[in-house]
């Protein structure tokens, strides 16, 4: 007994080292970087992920009003502003939604910036909806069919509550077009849950304290959402699936392709975890890192749950205690709080949370960040909003912490937070801290998270459930009879998996596939091959290498379209020119899309010279080289002759053939 006691006292005397704790916990949960992770690692934690891919449709008008679609405004460019608040309402099944209540607690003043050109009274919810845009409906039926879905017999417009203010009505009008489909990836099929047609939301301008500002330009644009089952078993599959859906959408040629036109919400969970939604990921290349980290964050939260449940016997009685303190006692200027600030400062004790606050969650992050993120979102406390007893760099100082502990009557093994904020927000802040603390005992909270380029995420909102759905009483159901579906089937393009197989068959290099599919260029490859006998391989590299390079170095002009590349190939074939000249013409064509091909050739100083004339120069040049002989190297002569002929040869004769003739 005696020895045991002295042992534990010794341990207590040793100062707690958050850095070491962070490193140890990271190791203990078996975190591994994505680079080093194998399928076995993902199987160990039962990585599971599904996608909700949003795609803007290319229509002239918005979905429920007659405003033009796709006219954007700068953040500070507006004709009028108006202010609204959102209150939770009951769903059709008589429940209040969890997110709804949280958003209500945050008491946000929501300001909308309206530009007359892009928004009318519908966007700001001062007019009921006009009949649904039928072009958008047609496109969404096409994509549902391409996704092998069952198309509904009658479209019901539903209201899906969003209380974050991103839609002025407080709900998004959305309708299911198809359910239960599938897509075919390289090694597996992924099942699709549904495809819905919905109105896009506002774009956020800022969100500071209790004021959130939106612009209404994007609001109401037609958008489809393709939802998959959680069939992805590793992060790379997630990206492959997202790309596939993106390519499928684009294969119709009826969707928008600019920045922000495709955004995905990525759902992730691990064994014992919960579905967490990473919102609005607009780059598929971010997905692997994000999903990897999220799965391990959940794994870490589950480890925390184990630790806490082992430590705390009666978890229902766990609660925080707090006290208000004077700002000057803690030299908060050092923490970014202005000296004469009216902010209130509170110290909080978290029983038994030592070692939890600095527990690893994501690369470079610890559990304490979960509190700070929620304080920002729920209690509207701008960051920095807190410090805690397990920070790597303790700016508060051990002396101050000792005082905090004595004021709170903390016991060994407890952890402490100091936070600050406006008086009105303190109550919510304290509730938020206690709530998140209690959640740690149950594992992974249901939530949506915002993503960052480095692959980490922060808390965004509580994940809404099915309880926020409500039939739209402002619009009637739209029947979709079999004739309409048959008509749609006739106009469908090839499915993407068939397209990928075609590319492989045509021996089109794999490094061009993404560019070709992303820009829906297979039809051009196919047309050039069948009608002009230009090999798909050639067209593919012309587009995905030459053109992509040109695009990267020259400004885009609206007159340039991919169709022009086909016209170019057609011209070359008609003029009996050699295909190689296409690469030279392309640069001029891209820079001057209105110029005709004859003029471009003149600019290039191209002269049509018969093959025989070019070949006829070979003997002379060979002799000439023998006279001057610039190098001892065997192949130098060949290169010299080629170099002299290249300029006149390009376009007139295939360089490969020329090379062969020189060798003879």
């Amino acid at each position: 007994m005696q020895t045991r006691k002295s042992f534990s006292t010794d341990r207590m005397k040793q100062p707690f080292d958050p850095r070491r704790n962070h490193a140890e916990t990271q190791q203990k949960i078996g975190y591994i970087t994505r680079k080093n992770a194998t399928q076995a690692d993902y199987d160990r934690i039962c990585f599971m992920s599904g996608l909700e891919v949003h795609q803007q449709l290319k229509t002239r008008k918005k979905l429920f009003c007659r405003c033009p679609s796709g006219i954007y405004q700068k953040p500070d460019d507006f004709d009028a502003e108006l202010i609204r608040h959102m209150r939770p309402t009951l769903s059709e099944l008589g429940e209040y939604d969890g997110t709804a209540l949280m958003e209500f607690r945050t008491r946000k003043n929501i300001i909308y910036r309206i530009k007359n050109q892009s928004a009318c009274t519908y966007e700001v919810d001062d007019t009921p909806p006009f009949p649904l845009n039928m072009d958008a409906l047609g496109i969404s039926i096409d994509i549902a069919l391409l996704s092998k879905m069952k198309v509904v017999g009658e479209v019901h417009i539903t209201r899906k509550q969003y209380l974050d203010g991103s839609i002025p009505t407080g709900f998004q009008r959305t309708a299911i077009i198809g359910i239960e489909g599938e897509i075919e990836l390289k090694n597996k099929k992924v099942r699709l849950i549904q495809l819905s047609l919905e109105e896009d939301a506002c774009r956020e301008v800022s969100d500071i304290g209790h004021i959130r500002v939106f612009r209404t330009d994007r609001l109401g644009m037609p958008l489809i959402e393709t939802v998959t089952y959680p069939d992805f078993k590793n992060p790379d599959e997630v990206k492959e699936g997202a790309d596939y859906i993106r390519f499928l959408n684009r294969s119709t040629g009826k969707v928008l392709t600019g920045i922000g036109s495709t955004r995905a919400d990525v759902n992730v969970s691990c064994k014992g975890g919960t579905r967490v939604e990473i919102k609005g990921v607009s780059h598929t290349s971010w997905m692997p890192e994000l999903t990897h980290n999220e799965a391990f964050r959940q794994w870490a939260l589950l480890a925390i749950k184990e630790i806490l449940n082992a430590k705390v016997k009666d978890k229902t009685s766990w609660k925080i205690s707090w006290k208000e303190v004077k700002p000057k006692d803690f030299k908060l200027e050092n923490l970014g709080v202005p000296k004469n600030s009216t902010l209130k400062v509170y110290i909080v004790n978290l029983p038994q949370f030592q070692g939890i606050l600095s527990h690893f969650t994501q690369p470079g992050k610890m559990f304490a960040d979960e509190f700070s993120d929620r304080l920002k979102v729920i209690a509207c406390l701008e960051k920095p909003n807190m410090v805690h007893s397990e920070m790597f760099d303790d700016i508060v100082g051990e002396k101050a912490w000792t005082k905090v502990r004595s004021l709170l009557g903390s016991k060994d093994g407890d952890a402490q937070i100091i936070f600050w904020g406006p008086e009105d927000d303190i109550k919510t802040a304290l509730e938020t801290i206690e709530e998140r603390g209690k959640m740690a005992f149950t594992g992974v909270p249901n939530e949506t998270r915002k993503s960052f380029e480095d692959g980490t995420t922060i808390f965004e909102r509580v994940l809404p459930g099915a309880d926020r759905m409500y039939p739209d009483t402002d619009s009637a159901p739209i029947p979709l009879d079999d004739a309409a579906i048959d008509e749609a089937i006739k106009r469908l393009p090839e499915v993407v998996s068939t397209r990928i197989r075609q590319l492989i068959e045509w021996k089109v290099p794999e490094d061009t596939h993404t560019y070709i599919l992303k820009n829906n260029l297979v039809p051009i490859l196919e047309k050039a091959q069948t009608e002009l006998q230009v090999p798909a391989r050639f067209t593919a590299t012309l587009l995905a290498h030459t053109l992509k390079h040109i695009q990267g170095h020259n400004p885009a002009l609206p007159e340039f379209t991919y169709e022009k590349v086909y016209d170019l190939l057609q011209y070359i074939v008609k003029q009996h020119l050699d295909l190689a000249i296409a690469r030279q013409i392309l640069l001029h064509l891209y820079q001057h899309p209105k110029m005709d091909f004859d003029s471009i050739l003149t600019t290039l100083n191209f002269k049509p010279i018969p093959e025989s004339e070019i070949l006829g120069k070979i003997p002379f040049l060979v002799r000439k080289y023998k006279e001057i002989r610039t190098s001892k190297e065997e192949s130098a002569g060949h290169r010299w002759v080629m170099g002299n002929l290249r300029k006149i040869a390009t376009g007139n004769i295939s360089l490969r053939e020329l090379s062969q003739r020189i060798d003879k």
């Binding site: 001062d126 549904q194 029947p479």
Partner: protein
């Protein structure tokens, strides 16, 4: 009657449901030509076709399945949704004023009606407290549902019932009254109550909402809070309409009951005072008077109730080339009073003069108002006007057409002596006729003008 287990389904759809014995609220698997669909069968809204079955699928969305393609329905479970606004007892505190909310069927708090697909109001204090808990910070609220009719179905019977109910509440000592009302005819009711309930010692506030309370951005909650503030704490003891000032969630207006009109079919800020300024603005912090010559709150209970109404009164909106038979037909149908809404300063064309003469001869009371809404009837300016007056048409000054209609109905409800009717009509009870039109009583700014655009940019719309 046993419960309808196929709620709302009819015709072919009903036959198919009966054939497979699939009830509303049953969780089912439907085999159809477009594939298998699973979900809960929802009631079908009225006035929809009999060709589709509505399912709520597991993701919470609703879809319709074509009845024609259905080859089988299997019931997998059953769960009926009970839609209920959480009810909490409305707290009472001694130091807060007592306010009565009289319900007529507006959309202050509402729930979904599957039969029509529309929303129907929920109303008890407990339900209201559940939906708008802030009300308890303003007053002690009790409620009474007098009737449940849509705004467009409000009429004499309801006006009289309301007036009597208000009288009773005032005598019992209430500190303020709120009337929940649909917005379409709110200004008819506010006029009727101004005439029927006179000398009220407490505020009588009519309130509605332009966006039903089943949506998060509804104006209902804030309107209700504003109305409660005006009724409980405001000093203006008149019949008023309380609705949004701007479309933003910022402040409400208290409009005088006889000068207010709904001016936009869907905007939140649809109610405007015509030919004058509103009485006051109101926020949750209190009432800020704009006008200062209002009737003040009193301690006494000396309210006067005049529940009179003659139903044979109509309005005629004059249009070019109107024929005399329109007027003749009304007279033949036994109408005792006609409000003409004339062009410009109060005119109609000559061809209907004979019909007017015939009507006057038969003892029909005819009053003239203007289509322009703003401004007075001035029948001395042109010959036509003078002719009409000579024939017995009485100019109703700057009374709004709907207000003149209500007032004439009320006056004829009291007497058939046309001289007495005229006296009542032209003696203002509460600003339905004003002696002068203030310069800021007519402000309709037009967009596109730089200084107007600057103003709009600066203040929340």
């Amino acid at each position: 009657m046993s419960e309808d287990i196929f709620q709302g389904y009819k015709g072919h759809a009903l036959e198919v449901l009966q054939k497979y014995n699939a009830r509303v609220w049953a969780k089912v698997r439907v085999d159809s030509s477009r594939g298998v669909f699973e979900g809960t069968i929802l009631p079908r809204a009225e006035n929809t076709d009999d060709k589709h079955l509505v399912l709520k699928i597991f993701t919470g969305y609703n879809i319709g399945v074509s009845i024609d393609g259905i080859s089988n329905i299997t019931e997998l479970g059953y769960k009926k949704a009970v839609y209920k606004i959480p009810e909490k007892e409305f707290p009472y505190s001694k130091d807060k004023p007592n306010v009565k909310l009289l319900g007529t069927g507006g959309t202050i708090a509402s729930r979904l009606d599957y039969r029509t697909g529309a929303v129907i109001p929920a109303f008890s204090p407990g339900e209201l407290y559940g939906a708008v808990p802030e009300l308890a910070d303003i007053c002690n609220l009790t409620t009474e549902k007098l009737f449940a009719v849509f705004s467009e179905n409000m009429g004499p019977e309801q006006y009289k019932k309301l007036a009597i109910a208000i009288g009773n509440e005032i005598e019992k000592g209430i500190d303020g009254i709120i009337i929940g009302h649909g917005t379409d005819t709110l200004h008819y009711t506010s006029a009727a109550l101004t005439f029927m309930v006179q000398n009220s010692p407490v505020p009588i506030v009519l309130v509605g909402s332009q966006r039903s309370s089943d949506r998060p951005s509804s104006d209902a909650a804030l309107n209700l809070m504003h109305a409660a503030t005006a009724a409980a704490h405001g000093d203006i003891a008149e019949v008023m309409v309380c609705m949004f000032g701007p479309t933003s969630d910022e402040y409400g207006f208290l409009h005088g009951g006889t000068r207010v009109r709904k001016m936009h079919s869907s905007y939140r800020s649809t109610f405007r005072t015509i030919g004058d300024t509103p009485l006051a603005t109101v926020t949750r912090q209190g009432v800020t008077p704009i006008k200062h010559d209002y009737n003040r709150r009193r301690k006494d209970r000396n309210v006067k109730i005049f529940p009179y109404y003659e139903e044979k009164v109509t309005m005629v909106y004059y249009y070019t080339n109107m024929k005399p038979d329109v007027i003749d037909a009304l007279v033949d149908a036994g109408y005792k009073g006609i409000i003409i809404i004339g062009t410009g300063l109060g005119h109609v064309n000559k061809p209907i003069y004979p019909a007017i003469e015939r009507a006057i001869a038969k003892g029909v009371a005819i009053y003239m108002t203007v289509q322009t809404l703003w401004g007075y009837v001035h029948m001395f300016v042109y010959d036509t006007g003078r002719d009409l007056m000579a024939k017995g048409i009485i100019p109703a000054e700057n009374m709004l057409p709907e207000v003149a209609f209500i007032k004439l109905s009320w006056a004829l409800g009291q007497t058939s002596d046309l001289e007495e009717v005229k006296r009542i009509m032209l003696t203002p009870i509460n600003n339905e006729i004003t002696p002068r039109e203030p310069y800021n009583g007519y402000l309709i700014y037009q967009g596109g003008v730089p200084e107007v655009e600057e103003f709009i940019r600066k203040f929340h719309k």
